[in-house]
């Protein structure tokens, strides 16, 4: 297919953001229209990609490769395979939905939507680039808009949260830059091509691999986030405006996990095996510790933020298993977490925009007052705590199943996290929806149509994956088998 669909995916939001710059800032309607059109366009393109994607073919598809900086062998190289397609669809979908949710932003809209589309460029670009240099650029492009989006439109401690986010992420990624340079100079011929680096005739020396792996790890672990690099996350999530929290949780966290699967694992196979046990331990810490901390929260949004830490632990655990089942679980968990937690943040935004508080103790009895909202909240909560029949269960189960074959004790400890997760989510539901209605909220209106419609696609996806997991697994499984084969892992 010679139609440059991936380039369009990257450059449509860029064109959108540049055209917003040219619009008068009073003309809010036009600005919103441009942003919505651009994100709708990439959603359509993503659907087109999924429709035309040949999932039985494990090679890179929709590839585009042009020389960019020939002196150092940097190429503008895009392409997708089974590992990235789900995440690209996720990015496009959440970008569109969060753009709808952004209509409630009522200050400095021009800057907001300009930065919003710029953020989209970085997110999409990260998942489609197959050249390390290009990957790094997109990876970093995400930072600046995200910083401003949190720092200008965020909550009370927005400056602190935004600066912390920026410094943490940058501190991680500069080490990735060194790692990129190291693999470049140690490969023959010198190349930034991710595919060539992953399929080298002679792999790097193990000691070298371990060093470089640590460099990449620092970048990816901050994004996932893996304990103890997670402390930026609750701050950033809580302070960010609702649509941005959705993208943070839904897409940005996935960049880390994706980095492991696209770069660290295939390129530094020996080091990946070397670090498998630490991965499993860290994943388990994430799961249990994240759940315990989430349990202690009274702020609804902070609770959801810590639940993200817990859920992303399953990704690490699945990655540690070195088996197809575990990898499938990890990748699917990233997708599911994006959908479910994206929805959760939208729901938090709904209640916060009405009540202007997120203190769980101040609510109660909303079930009778806001039936539509309560129903939605329940479904998303159940999906999040891993109720069979909904999507969260499938991926968590696969991760645990994969890792159980390798680490029996660690997996047993990790499953405690499931119980804890159920506990804090159920307590949350009880505090919010059941009990006596706080008279202060007697006049709260239920969800409006826009808010409801925004959640419907997410709901459908949760249900479909929950009932028929093969609908998405068939896209990723062949690529995962390929990856596990390359790594000499277990195919089961």
């Amino acid at each position: 297919m010679s139609f440059p669909i991936l380039s369009l995916l990257v450059f449509i939001p860029l064109a959108g953001s540049l055209s917003i710059l040219c619009v008068n800032k009073e003309n809010v309607r036009l600005i919103k229209t441009i942003a919505t059109a651009a994100t709708a366009a990439i959603l359509l393109l993503a659907i087109l990609l999924v429709a035309n994607f040949n999932y039985s073919n494990t090679a890179i598809q929709f590839e585009e490769n042009h020389a960019w900086i020939p002196q150092i062998n940097v190429n503008y190289h895009l392409g997708i395979d089974g590992i990235s397609i789900g995440l690209i669809f996720l990015t496009a979908l959440l970008s569109f939905l969060a753009c709808l949710a952004s209509y409630s932003i009522n200050t400095r809209q021009k800057e907001y939507f300009f930065l919003y589309l710029l953020l989209t460029v970085g997110m999409v670009g990260t998942f489609v680039s197959l050249d390390l240099f290009l990957f790094y650029i997109f990876w970093e492009i995400v930072l600046v808009p995200m910083y401003f989006l949190i720092a200008i439109w965020g909550g009370e401690r927005r400056e602190y949260a935004a600066t912390k986010f920026f410094l943490y992420t940058l501190a991680g990624s500069v080490f990735m830059l060194l790692g990129i340079l190291a693999v470049y100079f140690n490969s023959t011929p010198h190349t930034f091509n991710i595919l060539e680096l992953s399929n080298q005739a002679k792999p790097f020396a193990v000691g070298f691999q371990i060093l470089v792996f640590i460099g990449f790890y620092l970048a990816f672990a901050v994004k996932v986030p893996v304990f103890p690099f997670h402390t930026w996350l609750p701050d950033a999530h809580v302070e960010a405006p609702t649509p941005i929290s959705v993208l943070l949780a839904g897409v940005l966290l996935k960049m880390g996990g994706y980095g492991f699967m696209r770069i660290s694992y295939p390129m530094l196979t020996d080091a990946a095996h070397y670090f498998a046990v630490p991965f499993a331990v860290l994943g388990t810490i994430n799961i249990v510790y994240g759940a315990l901390v989430a349990m202690a929260q009274v702020d609804f949004k902070k609770m959801v933020a810590y639940s993200s830490v817990s859920h992303m632990g399953f990704v690490m655990l699945g990655l540690a298993s070195m088996s197809t089942t575990g990898f499938n679980g990890a990748l699917l968990q990233m997708f599911n977490h994006g959908i479910i937690t994206g929805g959760m943040f939208l729901l938090v935004g709904v209640i916060y925009s009405r009540a202007h508080t997120r203190d769980l103790d101040k609510f109660g009895g909303l079930g009778t007052k806001m039936p539509l909202y309560s129903g939605m909240l329940m479904v998303f909560t159940f999906a999040s705590l891993g109720l069979p029949g909904l999507s969260g269960f499938v991926s968590e189960f696969l991760s645990l199943l994969g890792s159980f074959g390798t680490y029996k004790v660690i997996t047993a400890v990790a499953s405690i996290g499931l119980v804890l997760t159920a506990a804090y989510f159920l307590v949350m539901l009880q505090r919010m929806l059941l009990g006596k209605l706080n008279e202060k909220w007697a006049a709260l209106p239920d969800m409006n149509r826009l808010e409801f419609v925004t959640l419907i696609p997410l709901l459908v996806i949760i249900a479909v994956i929950g009932v028929y997991p093969l609908s998405i697994l068939k896209y990723q499984a062949p690529a995962i088998i390929e990856l596990v084969k390359k790594m000499g892992g277990v195919i089961r």
Partner: protein, 472 residues
């Protein structure tokens, strides 16, 4: 060796000198002093155009006092670019009294000549003369705001420090002459290489390094920087932050990176330490600054530390890294200072606190300053990232892992204070409103560097192809 024949290779310098004298004399007759800035600019552009035709491969001129190689050519262009942009910025600087303008532009043009001489020679005496000329003019220019105490204080500190380190340098050069019997670097390279571990060679080179460290503002010879930068008229601060630094690095590379001379471990260890300290001191002290010029002063110290990474790494990729970094640094740092001039024209302050809410008063200036600061921080896809990329690449290639790690950690620290300025501009509300019109010259300068920062960042290959040819 025909001196008359050689003259056609120094046409650019002659053009500059002519226009400098013309500016000085016309200053007596012309009433509208703005014309003089335009005239100086014409001189710079003419010199740049004639530079292309005055180049001949690897020739030495004027009895071996000047050398005409790709290295000098590149740095001459760089000097002309820097001075040209500073002239444009000066045309928009409101605090310069009209009667002072003729001498001001005269000095700027002579400065350009001095810088061009210093970078295009491999004779130590000529290097010394060029650098000393640059220094003397800098002292005068820093003190140019006659009624400002800061200006005089800065100039005095600059002068005292400068004289001391120049004395070091001359002392070192005299040693070199005593040991080798010549001042021509190309003649002593082979001998130097053989003797590089001997103490007798170490001492003079250390002294020369000290002298050049002052010009490049490397730790521990950086003390003059904040005061001189704060006191000087802002366009001069801009020039100081790029011009002498480019010259200093050019000369450093010429002296120390010839052949494999700097391969001795002592040297590498020493310069590695200087590099780490320069980055760290610059970045850490910059965090607590409240004046934008002082902040940029410390930032420029730190930037010199990054350039040293390329210098320590050496080899072709080291030279490439430093040259690329200097080109980009000239563009982005002059951009940042141009924005400072633009902003101080309307808010009459260099205090970062007064930048609060600037996005409302002057959206374009705040956007541009943000872009330049992010570029200085090394955020892709801006040019500053390409600059850092190539010095870090040189370090990794030369297996200077410690230095590379120190460099990246420092670039994270730096982001904190660049963000501080950005925070004030975008996250705080303004006290007063009102924008002044932007002078045309400044607009032009900012347009050039603004486009440059994006162009080099996104399409670095033509610049890279050009710099790859640079060598001596």
């Amino acid at each position: 060796m025909n001196i008359v024949h050689d003259i056609r290779f120094i046409v650019p310098e002659i053009i500059l000198l002519t226009s400098a004298l013309l500016v000085l004399m016309l200053g007596l007759f012309v009433r509208r002093k703005e014309v003089l800035g335009g005239l100086s600019l014409v001189g710079i552009v003419a010199a740049a155009i004639s530079l292309a035709s005055s180049y001949s491969l690897g020739r030495t001129l004027m009895f071996g006092m000047l050398v005409n190689d790709t290295f000098s050519l590149f740095f001459k262009y760089l000097c002309l670019l820097a001075v040209g942009l500073v002239i444009l910025i000066s045309m928009g600087y409101r605090r310069l009294a009209a009667e002072d303008k003729p001498e001001y532009y005269f000095l700027l043009l002579v400065m350009a000549i001095a810088m061009m001489l210093a970078v295009s020679t491999h004779n130590l005496l000529m290097i010394y003369i060029g650098i000393e000329m640059v220094s003397l003019i800098s002292y005068i220019l820093v003190a140019y705001e006659k009624d400002s105490l800061f200006s005089s204080e800065g100039a005095l500190k600059y002068f005292l420090f400068g004289s001391l380190t120049t004395a070091f340098m001359v002392y070192g050069i005299s040693f070199v002459y005593g040991i080798f019997g010549t001042l021509d670097l190309s003649a002593i390279t082979g001998t130097l290489h053989a003797k590089q571990n001997e103490f007798i060679v170490f001492v003079p080179l250390l002294l020369i390094l000290a002298g050049l460290s002052f010009k490049c503002a490397l730790v521990p010879f950086h003390m003059w920087v904040p005061d001189a930068y704060q006191g000087a008229p802002t366009p001069i601060t801009a020039l100081l932050s790029v011009g002498p630094k480019a010259v200093g690095f050019a000369v450093l590379m010429r002296i120390f990176l010839r052949d494999v001379f700097i391969s001795s471990d002592h040297w590498i260890g020493l310069v590695t330490l200087i590099s780490i300290f320069t980055m760290t001191v610059g970045n850490v002290i910059a965090i607590s600054q409240t004046n934008i010029k002082r902040l940029l002063a410390y930032s420029s110290i730190a930037q010199a530390g990054y350039m040293l990474i390329g210098f320590v790494s050496g080899g072709a990729s080291g030279i490439l890294g430093v040259s690329m970094y200097l080109l980009i640094y000239v563009v982005m740092n002059l951009g940042a200072f141009g924005c400072v001039v633009l902003i101080s024209n309307s808010i009459h302050s260099d205090d970062i606190k007064d930048y609060a809410g600037l996005y409302r008063r002057n959206p374009l200036a705040s956007l541009l300053l943000t872009v330049f600061l992010l570029s200085l921080a090394g955020i892709p896809p801006l040019a500053g990232f390409v600059a850092k990329f190539f010095v870090f690449a040189a370090a990794i290639e030369a297996k200077q892992t410690v230095l590379a790690i120190a460099g990246v950690i420092n670039s994270v620290i730096a982001v904190y204070y660049y963000l501080k300025v950005i925070r004030y501009m975008y996250l705080h509300e303004p006290q007063t409103l009102g924008i002044e019109r932007t002078p045309l010259g400044l607009q032009a300068a900012l347009a050039v560097v603004g486009v440059g920062v994006f162009a080099i960042g996104i399409l670095p290959f033509p610049f890279l192809a050009w710099i790859k040819t640079v060598g001596f």
